[in-house]
């Protein structure tokens, strides 16, 4: 997780991000009842793996991660 401990990294510069004022009502986009797109990644299952020489050549140890996918 990314954690920013440095709250004011560049004092004097223009503030690029506008932070929430705690007393202010949140004007959400998108409107209520709708959600932005969600991404998902299915968890990998370990199967057979490439032998070391083939893995180094291919750029992955795992056949299931090599494109074009065979599933």
């Amino acid at each position: 997780m990314y954690r920013d401990n440095n709250q004011n990294p560049q004092q004097g510069n223009t503030q690029a991000v506008s932070y929430i004022d705690q007393n202010q009502e949140l004007g959400y986009y998108p409107p209520q009842g709708m959600e932005l797109a969600r991404a998902y990644v299915p968890i990998q299952r370990l199967g057979k793996v490439y032998p070391p020489a083939k893995a180094l050549e291919t750029g992955t140890l795992f056949p299931e991660l090599y494109r074009p996918y065979h599933y």
Binding site: Q44, P52, A53, A55, L56, L61, F62
Partner: protein, 87 residues
């Protein structure tokens, strides 16, 4: 110095370290996968063996981390620079 054998051994080290890194990444998301852990430990063992074998024959691979310095000489300066090795 048998440079063909040196290149072969170096390649083997690269292969094993690649496999170790990829298993490392898999284990980051599957920390309890026993089969993967076993594979990782085997690869790790083979990797260390290959590194020791290489360094014994051709000198240190890195300036520190694997081999202790010899008592009477700093062998790091003995080996050719990577661009001087004739593969």
């Amino acid at each position: 110095m048998d440079s063909h054998n040196q290149a072969h051994l170096l390649r083997k080290i690269q292969e094993l370290s690649f496999v170790a890194v990829d298993l490392n990444l898999y284990l980051d998301t599957h920390p309890g996968d026993r089969r993967a852990l076993e594979m990782y430990n085997n690869v790790h063992r083979d990797f260390l063996q290959a590194v020791r074998k290489y360094e014994k024959m051709y000198g240190p691979l890195v300036n520190f981390g694997y081999s202790p310095a010899m008592q009477d000489y700093w062998t790091w300066v003995e080996s050719p620079w990577p661009w001087e090795i004739k593969y």
